[in-house]
Amino acid sequence: MNDLLNSLAYMVEPMPMLYCIIGVVAGVVVGAIPGLGGGMLMALVLPATFAMDNLLAQVLLIGIYVGGVTGGLSSAVLIGVPGTPAAVMTAIDGNAMARKGFAARALSIGIMASLFGGIVSWLILAGLSAPLARLASQLQSFDYFVFIALGLILIAFAGQGSVLKSLISGALGISLALVGFDSISATNRFTFGVPSLSNGFDLLAVLIGAFAVRQMLVDSSDGRPVVQQTSARLPEILHELGRPFRHFGNLIRSSLIGTIIGLMPGIGANIGAIVAYSAAKGLSKNREEFGHGSEEALVASESGNNATVGGALVPMIALGIPGSGQDVLLMAALILHQIQPGPLLVSEHPDVFYGIISTYLVANIVTLFVMVLSVRYVRSVLSVPKYLLVPLVLMMCTVGVISTNNRVEDTAIMFAFGVLGLFMSWFRFPLAPFVIGFILAPLAEERLRTAAGTARGNWLELLMTPVPLAAIAILIVIGLTSLIGRKHFRTEIGTQPKKP
């Protein structure tokens, strides 16, 4: 408790506060621009964090993360285009409200609901992380390997799109992470005689390529700016800030749903928003208003999507298993500073552990002020044409990769992974399992080899312990639920009358 209070006190000092404000402002602006999002900016900023204090680097990145998720609200309400996937449901009802002339009300509800969702998930993050980390520190090597494997499989089943493609994406990430020198056996793997491949693929170059370059290449399909349609004034926004509390039950329920969804690896803020929205619609007395400018819908969507961020931070700091693509970037920033996230983080680096928790709370509060004050300016950012943005960001990605190791050759890795990301986008392969697989593969391999050595190859002895057995049970339940769900879905589709 003292550690938490100390880190909260540290967060209100000028330097961390400044980094937090910079991060949140940048996140809000980038989050508002459709197609960009906080993840891309985090990848772009990652090389710069190398020279920073490790905690300040986390403050900056979490600021961008939280700001990016909430920032999507502005464009979703004002122009009906979600700045981030997390704002998809917000765009439906938020923009409908704006079109009816209630843009300020929609923004106020979204801003306050986001803060509320963030605070609820922070309470769970603060309460659950340390006990979970202590429990996890008692796990054996094989248990840890099972957790990583389970996390990757859960991502595939719970994420959007094809399960098969998600699993392939994760396996591809794992395979590419194994290129290079194996320190245990002093052997090169998949280097094809190229000496520079012995170092493997540089993590930063891979992340910048997979996130930022890929996003820019995808966005380069058209060069048009986003068109403005409506606006909101500051006094109106301030006047309506208390409105979400008229739906208090909905706020609490959606925030809890978002947090629980966030706890599951790889699901993401968009699913948190969709599930919270669906629950709110199912329980509402005014279901017919959903989709046509419903306040309840907006409350559910915004509190749900923001709460997933706090939930996703729990497995990242307590177990070292990233819950989302953005968490991978937070982990990468820690690894750059020689800090391994996971069960030992709370005992070895309590300042970082509690610093991350405190930053999340402060970033949410800062986001409230930034959102209220920045809405009118965000509108002008939305009009930046892509023909300026795309080449500029691609050039900055290149400079960022070069500056990390002062090595221009890394730009080839960035380019290759950017193109790979584009191919994955064309063929509808999700990116999150790929990057999570890439970052977790070395750790998973090390744990598996240690466990096999300890058990002297007796796999039955390894499997017949509580954690692997529980994991197998979870997998069977998930597999069956998924099969039944799909069959039910197909039956429902099949029974629908055909249109003439």
Partner: protein, 155 residues
């Protein structure tokens, strides 16, 4: 069609990578050896890719009537591949020029921004002027910041 192509490509890739993984020698420092985990991951990828290919082929033969609708839908969803391909090509050339040292960072970056922007910009004089000014100013600012303040060894 996309799934058939990606499934086939990944299956072939997995087979080749698995073959390479079998060539990794085990010096015997640990029980599993350096080849075990790559073989496990690649075998998993290969099996899943083959499954994706089979499912896609099966669906294609089963739903021949719907193939036209799927094609139409894919066409609607498909981004502008030509523009994207040009940007990929330009980025590849930019990276190649930087690595090979054919031009320094400033020249290569201004050219990349101008050509990349021109591919995406509407063909209007005003847009091209804005693009030119932005390219020169942005490259100058980035070059000064990284070379003089952050002491990064830009090519």
């Amino acid at each position: 069609m996309r799934d058939i192509f990606s499934g086939a490509l990944l299956t072939v890739f997995s087979v080749l990578m698995y073959w390479r993984a079998t060539l990794i020698e085990n010096p015997g420092y640990d029980l599993l050896g350096p080849g075990f985990f790559p073989k496990l991951a690649i075998a998993m990828m290969g099996v899943l890719s083959a499954m994706l290919l089979c499912v896609a082929v099966f669906r294609r033969f089963q739903n021949t009537e719907a193939a036209g609708d799927v094609k139409q839908l894919n066409r609607l969803l498909a981004p502008d591949f030509r523009r994207q391909s040009l940007i990929v090509l330009l980025l590849g050339m930019y990276v190649f020029v930087l690595i090979s040292g054919l031009a320094n960072f400033e020249v290569a970056s201004v050219l990349f921004m101008l050509t990349g922007g021109a591919v995406l910009a509407p063909l209007r004089v005003k847009s091209l002027i804005i693009l030119g000014v932005t390219a020169v100013l942005a490259v100058a600012a980035i070059s000064y910041t990284f070379r003089s303040i952050l002491f990064v060894n830009l090519p």
